[in-house]
């Protein structure tokens, strides 16, 4: 588990971003609300792009120890 776990999953963030874009495009949002939404949208897109920027796949393996208990460990190819 990373310490800085964001509140939303990537999928949630992206879908929220999509909704904001749609709402703004429809144009029936009050100016002040739309400015807030715009700020949130830009923030979300930053977060998403940051997630996408991660360069390496993390690989773990799920194995059983001697007592038959499941444990996660790093996987060496």
């Amino acid at each position: 588990m990373s310490k800085k776990e964001t509140k939303h999953t990537f999928e949630q963030s992206l879908s929220k971003l999509e909704k904001i874009v749609q709402a703004l495009e429809q144009g029936d949002v009050a100016l002040e609300d739309s400015l807030k939404m715009y700020e949130e949208g830009i923030q979300l897109s930053k977060e998403c792009l940051e997630t996408l920027g991660k360069a390496e796949v993390k690989i773990k393996q799920l194995t059983k120890d001697l007592n038959g208990k499941l444990q996660l460990s790093d996987f060496e190819e």
């Binding site: 999953t9 703004l24 100016l31 993390k58």
Partner: protein, 397 residues
């Protein structure tokens, strides 16, 4: 026997048994199954026949367990076994060690039979298929830790969408116990709710090699998995039972990796488009507000105060004009009045009367206009051209 020696039925049967069982050991017989019966004891009983003859056949429970398919009436088979004699009934039969279907292999038959069975139970129903997550964060992979399949999948996922975590559950993918290991792995990963999607699979091989993925225990584990499962077994042409039960079949493990994650670059492109759309809509919206404001400031409503002011001042002017008119009128009237009064006043001017010979008598600064107001003493008599002093000396009768 040459001495017409009489033997008992038991003796005869024993001798026949000896001849038959020694003479017909470990042979292969081909025929069609009929009167097939799986006894509650677990033993199989059937008749093997062709057009002209038939022979009873039996397969004991311990060997039945090793059969991969289920024999049925009308099935053409080859059996390997020995002839045995059942003394109590004087019957001979073939005791089968192995049965295999003619034409198709036993694995093929087993595959079709299990497929039909699970289909009938509804394990392949589309209604039961779970949607795959669009952006899984954790991907479980149930496969051999040493095969080409895992390397290929890691490579594809790393290339396409590296911001995920892969959790490998290493299993045997062929040989004894492989199916049970795969099924257990699927259950373990489900129990811990570890991942968003599971890929089970292995690289290509013979039907024998891929067999674990055709076993019922794997099919049921896939069916009961709460996490969506992608089945990726062998090559494109290989179909396995797990493919039919899984929520998605991938033709190969690499293809599964392609299907499970989107291409990062496409998503980046999508997000950039979102940003562009948001920014341009915001700009458009602000421009349009600006335009609206500009339009409003030029509008009648916005300028109404000015207009009102103008209207009011016009009204004032109007009133003023009317007031002036009124005043002029009044003035003329007043002038006429004044003129008439003036002429009347002029007729009343006392000096004119004085000029005609009248005088004004004042005593103690009061005008004496009546006889009784006058008393003896000094008086002032005013003429039109000046005054004189006089004295009243007495009143006449």
């Amino acid at each position: 026997m040459s001495d017409n020696k009489i033997v008992s039925v038991s003796e005869l049967t024993r001798q026949i048994k000896g001849v038959l069982e020694l003479g017909f050991a470990n042979l292969w017989v081909q025929g069609e199954i009929s009167n097939f019966k799986l006894h509650t004891s677990g033993h199989l009983y059937f008749t093997l026949k062709d057009e002209q003859a038939q022979i009873s056949a039996v397969m004991w429970r311990s060997r039945v367990a090793q059969l991969r398919f289920r024999p049925a009436d009308g099935m053409k088979v080859m059996v390997r076994g020995n002839i045995t004699v059942y003394e109590p009934r004087g019957n001979y039969q073939i005791d089968c060690a192995h049965i295999q279907p003619l034409g198709k292999g036993d694995l093929q038959i087993a595959f079709e039979q299990l497929k039909q069975k699970l289909f009938n139970e509804g394990l392949f129903d589309d209604n039961n298929k779970k949607p795959l997550p669009e952006f899984p964060q954790k991907i479980g992979i149930v496969t051999s830790p040493t095969g080409a399949a895992i390397r290929d999948m890691i490579a594809v996922i790393s290339r396409r969408f590296p911001s995920v975590e892969i959790i490998l559950v290493p299993v045997k993918v062929q040989g004894l116990g492989a199916a049970e290991e795969i099924a257990q792995a699927i259950r373990d990963i489900n129990d811990r709710s570890l991942v968003d999607v599971i890929i089970i699979g292995r690289g290509g091989g013979s039907l024998e090699d891929l067999w674990a993925f055709n076993e019922e225990v794997v099919a049921r584990a896939v069916y009961h998995s709460k996490t969506p499962v992608i089945s990726a077994v062998g090559h494109e042409v290989d179909f396995s039972i797990s493919d039919f039960v899984a929520d998605l079949r991938a033709p190969t493990p690499s293809a599964a990796a392609e299907l499970v994650v989107k291409d990062k670059n496409e998503v980046v492109e999508l997000i950039r488009n979102f940003c562009y759309t948001m920014t341009s809509t915001m700009n458009n919206s602000i421009d349009s507000y600006k335009q609206t404001i500009a339009h409003l400031t030029q509008s009648y409503s916005f300028n109404k105060p000015h207009d009102l002011l103008r209207q009011r001042s016009q009204h004032v002017d109007d009133l003023h004009r009317r007031l002036e008119q009124n005043l002029t009128h009044q003035y003329v009237l007043l002038r006429q009045q004044v003129t008439s009064l003036d002429s009347r006043i002029k007729t009343l001017d006392p000096t004119l009367v004085l000029k005609r010979g009248y005088v004004i008598v004042r005593q103690s600064n009061r005008i004496v206009s009546k006889r009784k107001d006058a008393s003896n003493g000094a008086v002032e008599i005013e003429f039109h051209d000046g005054s004189i002093d006089a004295e009243i000396t007495g009143k006449r009768k």
